[in-house]
Symmetry: D2
Subunit: 394 residues, 4 copies
């Protein structure tokens, strides 16, 4: 294979849900996109020797490390892909950047604003040395969401009046669902708010090209105690097994309202208790000239209302975002042959590699990740303080 | 016609949009429902002699009055149907109740909490004398909404976790749309909040069987000055015609979040700036055992997710609410032959007449109307006070 | 009431399903449309003295006759509205036309082509004397269907390539559903084919402005014997009650394919066995420049794909057919406040009265009804003859 | 990597659309499914030396051959994956089977019934020697379609009454679209009928578990002459370039009706002229106890109507086919994180490899492919013979 492109070794930390989908992206991206660099699935790191080795074999990683610090030290690693829970993002990402590795970091970028600030500062320093960083807000890379951004940027919606965003799931409705790490504040930072609320905050800011200026919010934990998860139980010596329960220390749901820098009213809802909604990441935007609607459960569709048409023939139209001219879509299949969840990661990795190859800074940057973190913190502050209006520092 | 039922004369005040649709209800109800009393379209009142006469002729009212006080005085009027703007509701309704007339009053019941309190007190006094009163929250009488209430009441949704309600319209998106009475605080009380926000507040409380305990809100007027409407211009002597503009004194949109007495989180949005949404009165309710979704733009459908089914066969199902066993529907056409907007008023009038005929108090009562008014006031108070949490007095 | 318009007395024959909905149309039309003539609900006729009287009282007809021939003879009857089963259409309609009465006749216009030919001939003779006739294909008066016709007529779809029409119901899926008159050939002429197939044939020809030139078809009766309906049992002396069964003599379903005069391929399906489909009268039309889709179960919506738009922003759009500029819709409520099944009849009656008042021939004419009848006959002929291609005489 | 599974070398013939998607399947399948054998992407063959090498590099094939006969001869090839146009399927597949290679063959299996018969015979002989063969009707592997099959097999639909299948595309609506190989009978066998009609015939027979017993059909070519495609032009010496046109020798659309072995009526439509429909592979099945609906444009959804529920709560429900318990879905992502077009091929390859590994015959077999071919031939025979009923030999 006569490939003159520079090869870039990827080292991935973590092999769980995010690790699996990132692996599929690294594995596939080169077959569909002409990239200026050639990614090599070099090293996977994870704490459990046995499980990491099995994951590497099944996912296609060439080598294994059991300490992420060793992964960062390797010469065959040019890119560090951080797929761990939020608690370790800051430490890993900053260390990697300081070691001169490009960093792709899962979201939410951090568990606290302080961590996020440190990460953004590290990213800024690294950028001066040509080291790139990016937060993995993958929903920006849904073709329909990218098309929505394009429509707004082109002025097709006019002056924006309303943003209505929801991220609805239902996987912990059952009180017997165990106390996994995502329900523990020390590991996950927050609950639905950080995990999925961060996505709709980022998506809203990305698609509108505006920032939230303030929020007023409520959070709620509907079920306060849950059976200890086996995994967690294993960590706690002397656990009494299935009988034991633990305290949920994060929100089950968050609702908040706010204003965008351009004057629009916004409302947000993130919940894991919307029975029957599986992964309904939704956003509707209403402007003076038109509106857009998206629901990830039908991820290949963007609904667009063109208000400049005569009223008698206007209406929300279902654009199947699978045309050759649509963002990302042309690299894949003919019109009507839809993409799936994992493709958003292939697109993310493609954009990241292109930025590295062309020496530009990819988006969303760690500064963008910090902006989202500040919104999450403001929601928590408002919720803790009588829902009072809480401005977002820019 | 051998009809032994007592005939009840109806006197309607106002013949505009609400007057037209109420007329269709009074005209049609008897052909579809077996009523204990027989309504007679007796008198229509309106200030303009000529226009009231024309309206009466076209709508089928037997007589005309040009002062609602004269209408109330008439012996052939047993029921007063108040279809005027909110500013006059309290005066007319209280006078009618005191004159011993049953009163059906359009929503929002009043423009202020004080008015609403006076109305509720009058209604309570009247009820002791067997005089009935009801607020015209017609959306309760959409068969799909009534079915939703039934499902919640039967426990099909379990413990309620979320209410998500929106009333989205777009009729004043154009800045050239004139300053009609609905945009003037002295006539309408408030804007989107009172006009359509009141509907979703009532519907949410009706379907859940719970009350809002507090709210945090934002309101916004996007377009502050508008061309003076011809009608209004006519009232203002010396108006300079189409050139003149006036100030919009109500909200264009309101968003608010709150909590229900049973512990659910709720979010609400009422707007006249949701481009492309024409009359999207929507509500979704998520409970521990199931969920419901309704959108008035598809008013014959109720979406129900039964979470007690195996996950592999569960999903939101589209119940076409046109079966014989569905609320109200059996009186009309065979399954699949849908109803329209006006039918909600026929159902309202039917329930009102049945309550009168059977000597019971109809719902929603003026006390219910007061409860809604208190929510609206709390939203405005919160919006004016830094979105602070504002409890609703019960 | 100073009404100088000529009053026209209406005499309706039959008071069952069609009679009820026609009554609502006659009752309501005047309040919503400015008509050149004023309809008066003069006489209702039905064979059962008691039931006809009760129906007249409840539906609002001023007088009663127990023989339709007496109804036709009355001077206060100017219009005869034929709402009986198909077997009596020809006799009543022809007699009424010969007596100089305008005739509105329910569909299918007749049970045989011969009857339809006699009716069309009678209508043609009557028209020469200014006597009007119309077939009640009410679906033409769904605003969305009328808008579809308008789009095709304006060339918005270009050259038509495909028509895909279905009328799906499920009311006789249960084998215990009784042998009502609609399942008996001597009364109904045919089954799903004539009852609902006639609607989609008419709608397809109306919307496209083209005629079917030939068909190839299959029909099927899935359940051959059913319990005798009580009503029918009553007619059969000595009936053994619920135990008795009778033979279904009509089709349960018909599927056929054909060609339109403009070259499009067409496919049709009419069935009462489409479990879960209640009244899904659907039509999709694909042309070189665009497509349309309609489903009566969502009767206020027309879906339009404009293929002249760039592919990246094209898609089927949901036009809510409730705007003031839409056919019929402006007479009713504001945008987004939908209409129901019965409104199609109000529109039908309005068009009929306007034609009478302005001295023009309304559509669909009896000649149009005959054209539909010929298609139905061709389908039956093809189905009986090895599905062979069967041309439609024009 | 301690992998004790037998490695099986794959040799793929063709690298165009089907070759690209098959490559993604071979590349990904091992990371998501526990397979009894380990596929190795060994050899790619194609006629153009340069293009084949480039495709192999980009798609990840280890070696290249420029004659498929050489590919078949190789010892490192255990499986032959036939991704060429239909004209060469029979020759390649039979040669491969005779050489003892397992064969996965794209659809339609052949261009004629004679070829298909020869292939089925070769497959039968090969099976006796433990050599496996399968036709790539990938839509059977859409999780929603597999779930549909499961529901029917479990009796959830009762006795089947109707099948309504359509495959609607619009990619050749423009008369300037060139004369590609799919529009030439010598290469493609037929047009929409074989290319996409074959899919709905197979899907209908698969989901119902029944066979079509006869058909009556129409076919049409709307645009008879098209610009010669550059590729084709290149093959024709002395071509005058863009000016030249060639004759379309296949159908643009086919509509046909039929009967299934269990008594249901069926209707089918395959077209490339359904403007606005991009890849609408749809099927609805109505049975005595329930109904199913699927549209590939929303491929992660299966709509199910359970007619055994009370009518008041029944309706088509949208099952998001992404649960762990759904066919194939559990191997991928959490609920609500949908799959795309290419996953159907990963599932196909997984099932094929499992059959090889466990020594069983995979489905759909070449005998199944022959059955579909016979239906296509019957449709053409009927269309050519006055749409006469044409039985399908079983």
């Amino acid at each position: 294979m006569s490939d003159n492109r520079p090869a870039l070794g990827v080292g991935m930390v973590g092999y769980s849900f995010m690790g699996r989908v990132h692996s599929q992206a690294w594995r596939s991206v080169g077959a569909f996109f002409d990239l200026p660099v050639a990614p090599v699935m070099a090293v996977l790191s994870g704490r459990s020797e046995e499980r990491t080795a099995a994951a590497a074999a099944s996912l296609g990683w060439a080598a294994v490390e059991n300490d992420w610090k060793d992964l960062i030290r390797r010469d065959d690693v040019d890119i560090v892909d951080v797929c761990t829970p939020g608690e370790s993002h800051a430490e890993i990402a900053i260390a990697a950047l300081e070691a001169g590795k490009h960093v792709l970091c899962e979201k939410p970028m951090a568990n606290t604003v302080a961590e996020a600030e440190a990460m953004a500062a590290a990213a800024e320093r690294a950028a001066e040395r040509g080291v790139r960083s990016m937060v993995a807000f993958n929903y920006r890379r849904v073709p329909a969401v990218a098309l929505a951004r394009q429509f707004v940027a082109e002025g097709r919606l006019g002056v924006l009046r309303h943003v209505r965003a929801q991220y609805l799931q239902d996987w912990i409705v059952d009180p017997e669902f165990p106390l996994v790490w995502r329900l523990q504040k020390d590991k996950a930072g927050s609950g639905a708010l950080g995990d999925i609320g961060s996505h709709i905050v980022d998506t809203a800011q990305f698609v509108t090209g505006q920032l939230l200026t303030g929020v007023s919010g409520l959070t709620e934990t509907f079920i306060n105690d849950r059976p200890t998860a086996e995994e967690s139980a294993g960590l706690a010596a002397g656990s009494a097994g299935a009988e034991s329960t633990g305290h949920v220390t994060v929100d089950d749901a968050a609702v908040f309202i706010g204003r965008l820098s351009g004057g629009a009213l916004a409302s947000f809802e993130a919940t894991r208790f919307a029975t029957g909604r599986k992964n309904a990441m939704r956003i509707e935007i209403n402007g003076s000239l038109g509106s857009l609607y998206f629901d990830f459960e039908s991820m290949n569709e963007l609904w667009f209302h063109d208000h400049t048409l005569p009223a008698e023939e206007a209406g929300f139209r279902r654009i199947l975002v699978t045309e050759g001219g649509h963002p990302y879509a042309g690299a894949w299949w003919p019109p009507g042959h839809g993409l799936g969840y994992e493709h958003t990661f292939s697109h993310e990795v493609k954009d990241f590699l292109e930025a590295i190859g062309t020496g530009t800074d990819p988006a969303p940057s760690f500064a963008d990740g910090l902006r989202v973190q500040r919104v999450l913190a403001a929601v928590e502050e408002s919720a803790a303080g009588d829902s009072r209006w809480t401005p977002i520092p820019q």
